[in-house]
């Protein structure tokens, strides 16, 4: 594994395209922290009021988490919010039975290179209320859409809310395997658990393969060899724009090794395994958050400042890559 940057330094590098810092700062300023927290609150309520998965029928009745897995009400909430902003939501429906998946897709078509796609994804299914995992990622994408939908984009921005991630990335795997031919995924940005922070020493367990800080107050930017350039660009943008503490790590090859397994536990892994570039943004989930996959994963445990900064950084990076104007 190659450590490309850790918290400070490593800001000088060659971008595929020169960034426009002032413009990106303008985009970041449009992120509204209160909207993020309010949206997480609403999504948690949606999960808590939903009818959970029939864990007896699935054959896993002894796993309490599985008996508190939900997705339908959160999916309805996402559609409702998007449609209130004028978006046209398409449903990528695949599979049959209890694990039929419904990925929710919104697209902002590029005006210069429409076949070049910058894809942003997060799963919307959760165990229990799922504030950090993954209502934070869902809300981040909704805010990203709100900010960038008012802009002209050179490349196509596609946002996909993935279904059934918690059981092995089922929705994203089906989505990637049915990607339309003729378009190029320039990069996929995947959010999973992006709202939890703890600055106390000892609050962060180590990521495998590199010296992790003991304070859990950084955002991890995780790439593989295919997405190394974009991972380093995101890190350099963060340093240049002075957004937040960040750590970047790049796995060699496709990243699929037993030792890097903890870095693969979200939807970006199916992009990696399909040879597509993907950057994973995470607060490192269970390596930091004691509420991970627990009943206590509620909105009041999130750090609004940290969360907003993650969304600001993401907005700048995606805005840069998609050629927002």
């Amino acid at each position: 594994m190659v450590l490309v940057g850790l918290l400070t330094g490593c800001s000088q590098m060659d971008f595929d395209q020169a960034p426009r810092p002032e413009f990106l700062r303008t985009l970041m300023a449009e992120v509204q922290p209160q909207r993020l927290i309010d949206e997480v609150d609403a999504l948690v309520q949606a999960h808590q009021s939903d009818v959970p998965l029939d864990c007896e029928a699935v054959g896993l009745p002894d796993d309490d988490r599985v008996c508190h897995h939900s997705r339908v009400a959160a999916g309805q909430r996402i559609r409702s919010v998007l449609e209130s902003m004028g978006a046209v939501v398409t449903v990528d429906a695949q599979g049959e039975g209890a694990f039929a998946t419904q990925n929710l897709v919104v697209e902002l078509r590029g005006t210069v290179h429409p076949d070049q796609v910058v894809l942003v994804g997060a799963h919307y299914d959760s165990f229990y209320g799922g504030a950090d995992d993954n209502s934070s990622g869902v809300a981040a994408m909704l805010e990203l859409y709100r900010v960038l939908s008012t802009r002209s984009l050179d490349r196509t921005l596609r946002l996909v809310w993935f279904d059934f991630e918690e059981f092995g990335f089922i929705g994203s795997q089906r989505y990637v395997q049915s990607l339309p031919e003729g378009e190029t995924v320039e990069v996929a940005v995947v959010f999973d658990c992006v709202g939890y922070s703890d600055g106390r020493p000892g609050s962060q367990e180590a990521l495998p393969g590199f010296p992790t800080p003991s304070e859990g107050d950084f955002i991890a930017l995780i790439g593989n060899q295919t997405s190394e350039q974009k991972t380093v660009e995101a890190y350099a943008l963060n340093t240049q724009l002075e957004v937040m503490r960040a750590a970047a790590v790049v796995s060699p090859g496709d990243g699929a090794f037993p030792i890097t397994g903890p870095l693969l536990r979200s939807d970006h892994s199916v992009f990696w395994l399909d040879g597509l570039p993907a950057v994973f943004l995470t607060d490192t989930a269970r390596l930091r958050n004691p509420h991970y996959h627990q009943l206590t994963d509620t909105a009041d445990t999130l750090d609004p400042v940290f969360f907003a900064n993650v969304v600001r950084l993401s907005t700048a990076a995606v805005g840069h890559w998609v050629g927002a104007r």
Binding site: A57, V58, G59, L60, G95, A98, F99, F164, F167, G168, F169, I170, Q173, G253, D254, A256, F257, P258, I259, T260, G261, L264, R265, S269, V270, L273
Partner: protein, 179 residues
């Protein structure tokens, strides 16, 4: 262990070692992918080893068998090995490499109940049948024509692609005889 070694030493006396050795042992091992792992495997290993004259090197071949997991077609492993031994009296520690083919390099998905496989199908596809391992035998003792070895450790990776899976093996107890 030492009592067993002493008894063997008394029983066998000092018989000149031949370059040909047969071994039989009980081993445990498992595979790990990037998401999950195999069931722990326990099986029998039968090996043949030939010492290269006037060198501490030996080459070998082996076959290993375990109870099949669901989905296993051939519950066997076959391999060839190269080992360096450093005899110090009757203590004969060694280290070496093994290249093999396994019909058991599969992840265990039984815990998923009725769930669709998801990314685990990709994980399983990456766990190829070939493996390369590096092992040490720190507790091997020779008594005349007999050898006994315990707690041999081997760490390896599956191929191809190399490193997509990890393989960990513990040789619990092996006995050998020079022919």
């Amino acid at each position: 262990m030492l009592i067993l070694a002493s008894l063997l030493a008394l029983a066998t006396g000092t018989v000149p070692a031949s370059p040909h050795e047969l071994t039989l042992g009980v081993v445990g091992w498992e595979y790990r992918g990037f998401l999950s792992g195999s069931e722990p495997l326990v099986g029998l290993e039968l090996g043949y080893r030939h010492s290269v004259q006037s060198t501490p090197l030996s080459v070998g071949a082996l076959v290993r068998a375990a109870a099949p997991n669901p989905g296993t077609v051939v519950p066997l492993e076959v391999g060839i090995s190269l080992e360096l031994r450093a005899p110090i009296g009757f203590w004969q520690p060694g280290a070496g490499v093994e290249l093999g083919w396994s019909g058991l390099s599969q992840v265990d998905l039984s815990w998923r109940g009725g769930l669709p496989p998801g990314a685990h199908t990709q994980e399983e596809a990456l766990l190829g049948p070939w493996y390369l391992g590096f092992g040490v035998s720190p507790l091997r003792f020779a008594f005349g024509r007999w050898t006994v070895s315990a707690l041999e450790l081997q760490l390896g990776a599956t191929a191809f692609p190399l490193g997509a899976g990890a393989r960990v093996q513990l040789g619990l107890l092996k006995a050998g005889v020079s022919l």
